[in-house]
């Protein structure tokens, strides 16, 4: 019998019961809760007179609607304020731990989970948020769910699920200096497409993945969903174990040792069979920039905007034409000739300490270009912010002309006051370049933190590999 993939092991470990059609009731070890996708779930519990199955398995934090400035003044938008207050109220009523807006540990749910050790290797992790795939960076089976399933997981600590197929994406060799986790995952999405991973759990492996820090691995797994896969996974190694030691929610003492022993098994067996294998050569990956309105519409920074006329499939051709129109770009235009209006460094993809360090290194001693109306740096959590300030990164950003903000989802999806105005063009370290995502009529180019910082100080995209002093 063939060995098991990491996904197979995690799945088998959590099956409570199996149905005849291959679906199974699986146990959920951890649910993360935020304010946008939970109010209707709590309301459902109330209406049915139900209580959470295990309150301590849930951890809540408001992130989507929170302001990133003047927090002591509260939330100006009454609709946003009601949603955040509703989360506070629901957590109190149901006895769920919440890091509220005043808590130093507050931040983006997918930054907070690993940072606290609330999401651990070997766990099943769910959240009413598609970027829950982030937590797979530590070999947790983590996936986004809708609000009905949030309610279901609250009430039963289980979900009825159909097993996904197994895909291995191997990135062999080493990336060049200046090429980051973000570029790797954008290159992967460019290769397999936004639906390439639909129906699969993707395990990322290979030398280039192994060499990433835990923060970098989170960036890669975060965007598995942008390739269509609900779940991204990376096997446990020394970096994983080191990362979790001494985290507040991680086990201690003898239990830590037991956990580490178990976590050492969290890798695919050598003879495991995957339904699909995709291989990339890391040396061939350059800094990436999206040009369109889907993350798969991506090219290397030294390329130009593609021409729909070269596309043979008529549906794709129409999508490209529509995207070019929305983005106000012309085929053949050099990526480095695209000028920006705003820059956003943040989001659950790229707001961890390593991301801020990479951006600060590029911004250090430089000034945000005159044509950039606003350049935001939004740390992923209060603790990331604190650490960055201890390292003096805030000063580098502020001196360069960036705004140094409080933690939250911010301009990734513009549910708070941080947004693009119609027609504005943004270099963004977030994960989605959909129409209107960062604000009605806004135009988004997805890039790495270093590329975003370089775009901020130059006013247009530049090849980070050619920037002086870039030692990333």
């Amino acid at each position: 019998m063939a060995g098991k993939t990491l996904y197979d092991k995690l799945w088998d470990d959590h099956v409570v019961s199996r149905e005849d059609d291959g679906s199974a009731l699986i146990y959920i070890d951890r649910q993360l809760v935020h304010e946008v996708t939970s109010p209707q779930a709590f309301e459902g519990l109330r209406l049915a007179g139900r209580k959470p199955w295990r309150t301590e398995r849930n951890l809540a934090v408001a992130d989507h609607n929170v302001p990133t400035t003047d927090r002591d003044k509260g939330i100006a938008d009454p609709v946003s304020r009601l949603q955040v207050e509703t989360l506070d109220k629901n957590c109190r009523e149901f006895g769920i731990t919440e890091f509220d807006m005043a808590d130093l540990r507050q931040g983006i749910v997918h930054v907070v989970g690993p940072e606290q050790g609330a999401t651990l290797p070997g766990m099943t992790v769910v959240c009413g948020d598609s970027h829950t795939s982030t937590h797979g960076a530590s070999a947790a089976l983590a996936f986004g769910i809708g609000t009905s399933e949030v309610e279901h997981a609250l009430a039963t600590q289980c979900l009825m699920q159909k097993k996904s197929k197994n895909m291995l994406i191997r990135v062999d060799g080493n990336v060049a200096p200046g090429v980051t986790a973000k570029d790797i995952v954008l290159a992967i999405i460019g290769k397999i497409g936004t639906a390439g991973g639909t129906g699969y759990a993707i395990e990322f492996a290979g030398e280039a993945i192994r060499q990433l820090s835990m923060e970098g691995r989170m960036t890669v797994c975060n965007m598995a969903i942008e390739a269509g896969a609900r779940t991204g996974l990376i096997a446990v190694d020394e970096a994983t174990i080191d990362y979790y030691q001494h985290r507040p929610f991680a086990p201690k003492g003898e239990l830590w040792d037991k956990a580490v022993d178990a976590w050492q098994q969290l890798h695919s067996d050598a003879d495991a069979q995957f339904d699909k294998v995709v291989v990339l050569d890391a040396a061939g990956i350059k800094p990436q920039v999206t040009w369109g309105t889907s993350p798969e519409m991506v090219v290397a920074v030294d390329q130009s905007v593609p021409d729909p006329a070269d596309e043979t499939d008529s549906v794709n051709q129409q999508s490209m034409q529509r995207a070019l129109e929305y983005m106000a770009l012309t085929p053949g235009q050099n990526i480095t000739d695209i000028h920006l209006d705003k820059v956003f460094i943040g989001s659950c993809t790229n707001s961890r300490i390593e991301d801020l360090r990479q951006a600060a290194e590029v911004a250090s001693g430089k000034k945000v270009a005159a044509n950039i109306k606003q350049a935001l740096v939004v740390p992923g959590s209060g603790l990331v912010k604190k650490q960055a300030e201890e390292e003096g990164l805030d000063k580098i950003f502020i001196e360069a002309g960036f705004e140094w903000r409080d933690p939250g989802c911010s301009m990734c999806l513009a549910m708070n006051a941080d947004r693009l105005e119609a027609g504005e063009r943004c270099a963004s370290t977030s994960n989605r370049n959909f129409e209107g995502r960062q604000g009605y009529g806004g135009r988004t180019h997805l890039v790495s933190p270093a590329m975003a910082a370089a775009a901020a100080v130059n006013g247009h995209f530049v090849d980070i590999r050619k920037q002086q002093g870039a030692q990333l």
Partner: protein, 210 residues
């Protein structure tokens, strides 16, 4: 949850691939703490010429005359015909809520994004996967008043000319949708199994059960 058994209804063609959930229901409407009332904001940025805000009265907003749902012949559509990877992106269940609240009961596409597909079944909305060629043929044969008949029990879509097309669906999902069952109540029938699993797992992973 509403049960779904059979439906014969007008079809609206949305000829786009990779329609994301941000397009289906933009973020500003997600601030609502209610489950109902999203229908008027379905496809808001495509459907209206102005910028939509929560709790806006949509009856006086300027409509985009080119958008398919604004054409009078699709006014009563309950079936949406669309292209690959429908519902990609955000996990927001507000997307199926908005589609259902608007009046759609079924969506036909060559493929759906996983989370969206799953969310549909929680809301009495039937997502039907048909081969890209078949979907293409349905787009091509559409004419005024075009209707399709869907039979979930038989797993068929029937065209006006009597062509019957089979579709696949998991037994478990089909059963729940046919009967409009409450998923949580069904799972709680297995409470003993959940407790037995917890007891066994606590031995293997004691750090999770401190």
């Amino acid at each position: 949850m509403k049960a779904f058994t059979q439906l014969k209804a007008i079809v609206a063609p949305l000829d786009r691939a990779n329609v994301d959930t941000d397009a289906i229901i933009p973020k500003q409407f997600l601030k609502s703490i209610r489950r109902a009332g999203f229908g008027p904001y379905l496809f808001d940025e495509w459907r209206y010429l102005d910028r939509g805000e929560p709790e806006m009265d949509c009856s006086t907003r300027p409509l985009n005359p080119d958008f398919v749902l604004n054409k009078p012949q699709y006014k009563d559509a309950q079936i949406l015909l669309t292209r690959e990877n429908f519902g990609c992106g955000s996990s927001r269940e507000h997307a199926p809520w908005a589609l259902e609240d608007y009046g759609f009961r079924a969506i036909i596409a060559p493929s759906f994004a996983d989370i969206f597909y799953n969310n549909c079944f929680k809301n009495g909305l039937l997502p039907i996967v048909l081969d890209a060629d078949v979907v293409d043929s349905l787009f091509n044969e559409m004419e005024p008043g075009y209707q399709l008949a869907i039979d979930l029990e038989a797993q068929t879509v029937t065209t006006p000319t009597g062509r019957t097309i089979h579709f696949d669906i998991d037994e478990n999902r089909k059963f729940r949708l046919l009967n409009g069952l409450d998923d949580i109540a069904l799972t709680l029938q297995q409470a003993d199994k959940i407790r037995a699993y917890e007891a066994e797992r606590a031995k293997r992973a004691p750090w999770l059960f401190q």
